[in-house]
Symmetry: C7
Subunit: 103 residues, 7 copies
């Protein structure tokens, strides 16, 4: 049985899916805003690596995904499918599971 | 792995989501209207910080969100995703989870 | 953290929601119609205080709410979100949870 | 707190709801058709008292309710909201819970 | 409280509902096709007595029911509402619960 | 109560339903492809006997069923309604429960 | 009862279904990207063998499937129907269960 190797740069999400690299939340000790400690246990922040071409509506037209490559995003804690590639954590999300873009 | 810091002013909710700063209910001892004590345990009142551009309907058009920045809102007790930033409590809500604008 | 005070007259329900003041059922001992005793335990009758502008349909048009301010309404026992303001009981209902207008 | 009295003649169901007076099934000992004994425990037969104006469809038009005042109807055993008024049993049903008009 | 008597010939199903007289499966000892013994315990075969005018679609038009009076039908074992009238078994089915017309 | 006999050739499925004769999986000891032993316990392969005229869409038009009489089909293990006629096993499936045609 | 033999090359998925040959994840000890060990227990990677003609929308038109024969795909761990043919593992997936095309 032939094996398939997965390369991050070649992952092309389908439909309204978004491929996101999971980020660790930065803790700032002075000033600024930070994610609380307990957010580290299951990160909810990431950076968009690739996006799908969008969902097809009833007219056969695609609705483009609202986020773009490079966007930092907040996403639902329990959403999507976790994928570990080369030691890094990724997640394949539906656009609806992305809550907000955080620049 | 690169870390992402989140700044309240840069949070841009997607779709029909609304970014809300959770308020503590004010207790007035004289006259006026107030939220009962038990409402403090899990606040249901907040102020809109930013709003998404609205949901895309079947025609590919966006329906604008009904609330605007600065609105005080009542929202469902168990709705949305809680986020703690810089010691303050925020919640990312779908517009449908907002029950009413108050004052 | 700033507090928000809620005034009944400023509550503006969103979408097809309706803000209702809960009524106690009147018991008449002679003639007339009355709600049975057990209906008192969890009132299902109220008076409309304010109404939302209606739901947006797929064409981006609002469907006006069928009830109006001042209407006495019967509503589902377990529907909506209960709110206590100034010692009185209110409920925020979706229009679909209102069963009928009474007199 | 003001009380509200409910008068059967003033109940106006919303949407596709139908206000039905619950009937007791008649038992005929000779000839004819009758409902079996066990149907008495939870009546499924009633007479339409008032009807709503019908549901609003996606085009903003109302679809009139298929039954009319005075119709005898068969309805689902566990459907609707039971209301007791003046010693009589009523039920507020969605049109979809009405199975058939009888006679 | 007035009683209502139900006559089979006057039952008029609503929407896409179909009024069906339950049949006992015939057992043939020679040749032919027959329903197995265990099918007798809960009949799945019946004859259409009356049909509704069909469901209303989003355009306000009725889609006629696919079966007609007199059709022998196979229906889902657990579908519909059983009604016993004059010693006979009837069932009120949604058209979608009718699997096939037989013979 | 009149009995109804069912003849395979007269079964006419409604809507998008498909009447399928269940097949036993063939085991080949040499070369070729075969279904594993455990597939015999609950067959998932069959031959289409008759098909419905297709589902009616919102425009009142029928969408023809994608399979045709004589097609060998793979179907979901737990889908449909099993029917035993004359010693043979049949199943009434919705088209959506048919996974693939296997020539 | 006639038996049906299944040949991989003749499997034609219906609707938006996709017939996928399950791949074993390749483990690279040096450089490159690889799937972690625990991904081997239930593979989520495969190669598209055949695709259906796409789902029919409300207008009676087919929306073509977004993947094509030969595509390497990532799919949901618990999606689809597993089929073992000739010693190899296959899976029949709905297009919506395919998360991404890889390489």
């Amino acid at each position: 049985m032939a094996a398939i190797s997965i390369n991050v740069s070649t992952v092309k999400p389908l439909g309204d899916r978004v491929f996101v690299k999971v980020s660790e939340a930065e803790e700032k000790t002075a000033g600024g805003i930070y994610l609380p400690d307990n957010a580290k246990e299951k990160p909810q922040v990431g950076e968009v690596v690739t996006v799908g071409e969008g969902k097809v509506n009833d007219k056969g037209e695609r609705t483009p995904v609202e986020v773009k490559v490079g966007d930092k995003v907040l996403y639902s804690k329990y959403a999507g499918t976790d994928i570990k590639l080369g030691g890094d954590d990724y997640v394949l999300l539906s656009e609806k599971d992305i809550l907000a873009v955080v620049s």
